[in-house]
């Protein structure tokens, strides 16, 4: 994992789950967001290049989830900028949507649809090749094989978290954003998170927002949000 490179062709999509996505870089320049006075993300600057794993830690309210939402393109920062590039070229919103996978508690599913139908919708909307195969593969990876017919609304919170992981991994993103990925998961689920991060470290840029030591130990670099910017790597 190193600083952002400069280079050639635009990133259009990211492929098969095992395929490596090199040359992806993320740079935050004085990036901050303020919801209200004293709340939000204080300006931070950092540069990361994939593949590799980084963890962001910090007390509640320090802006970890906000940072991930900005990187995912869900939130426009009120300060600074967040640049996601592939081989030196910035990604437009559409390409960013294809490049980023987010697993966060804010991702909810259509309760009246089954787990398979939810992911099938996402695969179809993203225009993925072999959507059924992708969905089956993604569900199997998170231990939900055979549960594709279960209604999303009837899944336990732990199984729903696994479905969020499958959703984030479905399109084999170049940047995988995991916000407290172990929440609601049992020991087996937490081990699964470890395995998935280990699988992804060679092919994608993984960013984990967490205060769980087991999760932050998965990272090669750890940043701490202290309320006034990123602290020194731990």
């Amino acid at each position: 994992m190193s600083g952002a490179p400069a280079g050639a062709p635009a990133l259009r999509g990211f492929g098969a789950p095992t395929e490596s996505v090199a040359g992806v870089a993320l740079e935050a320049r004085e990036l901050g967001h303020r919801y209200a006075a004293g709340r939000g993300l204080e300006p931070v600057s950092f540069a990361l290049a994939g593949p590799g794993v980084a963890a962001i830690t910090g007390p509640n309210g320090s802006g970890k989830s906000t940072l991930l939402r900005i990187v995912a393109g869900l939130l426009r920062p009120s300060h600074g900028e967040c640049v996601l590039t592939h081989e030196g070229r910035g990604l437009a919103p559409g390409a960013r949507r294809g490049a980023v996978g987010l697993c966060a508690s804010s991702v909810a599913f259509y309760e009246e649809l089954s787990a398979g139908e939810n992911l099938g919708f996402v695969a179809d909307a993203r225009g993925l090749a072999d959507p059924r195969g992708r969905v089956a593969h993604a569900l199997a990876r998170v231990g939900l094989a055979g549960r594709e017919g279960d209604r999303a609304g009837a899944l336990s919170s732990g199984l729903r978290q696994r479905l969020r992981l499958a959703f984030a991994l479905l399109h084999a993103p170049a940047v995988l954003l995991l916000d407290e990925p172990g929440s609601h998961l049992d020991e087996e689920g937490r081990a699964l998170v470890g395995r998935l991060v280990h699988e992804q470290r060679e092919r994608a840029l993984v960013l984990i927002a967490t205060n769980d030591e087991r999760e932050s130990r998965l990272a090669e670099r750890v940043f701490e949000l202290r309320g006034r910017g990123v602290g020194h790597p731990a």
């Binding site: 492929g15 426009r76 949507r97 966060a104 649809l113 919708f121 179809d124 909307a125 993203r126 090749a129």
Partner: protein
Amino acid sequence: MPSASSSSAAAVWAILRKECRSEWRTRYGLNAALLFAIATLTAVSFAVGRLGDRPDLLAALLWIVLLFASLAALAHTFVREVEGHTLTLLRLTASPTSIALGKLLFNLLFLAVIELVAVPLDLVLLGGPPLHWGRFLAVLALGSVALAGTATLVGAIIAQTRGRGALFAAVSLPVLLPVLAGAVSGTRAQWSGAPVGAELRLLAAYGAAMLGLSLVLYDHLWEE
């Protein structure tokens, strides 16, 4: 690297199918809309009998039924995403334009289903002069596009606001009045054998304006 950037057409189609599947599973709007249309037309039929000699009343009644039967459901396509907390998933999956077009197509389909029931029922229960089918269907189609386009846009605007119920009425009334006026006037004119060109132009222009406005605004509506 196979492509994962969402093709717009694929996304629109996927959203349309998802909306249909969700509506079919929950019957959130369909049952209420059909019940309203059938109950209203039946009640008016019992109260005043046939209105064959009053095309003005017939035209107004038809569009009032279509408007109130469908409006809540049309606007709710976005509210449902906010209340079900699924907007994040949707925004991570498809572009705002694809979402808008998918929702608009679903609303048009929804309106067509309501019309398939309400229009024949209106004609059978309340009577009416012979239809000029070409003009009638043109007014119905363009009126539906304008109605669905307007309701979809208003639904998107109010979806993330507090007090959206009150806001919905306040925002929809002024923007829907031109649609209602054009549709009622066109429907009445075709029953009277008069030309409907002006009404068709109004509805087409209004529908196109709403669609254009939607495509421009949607990118900004859901920014946090």
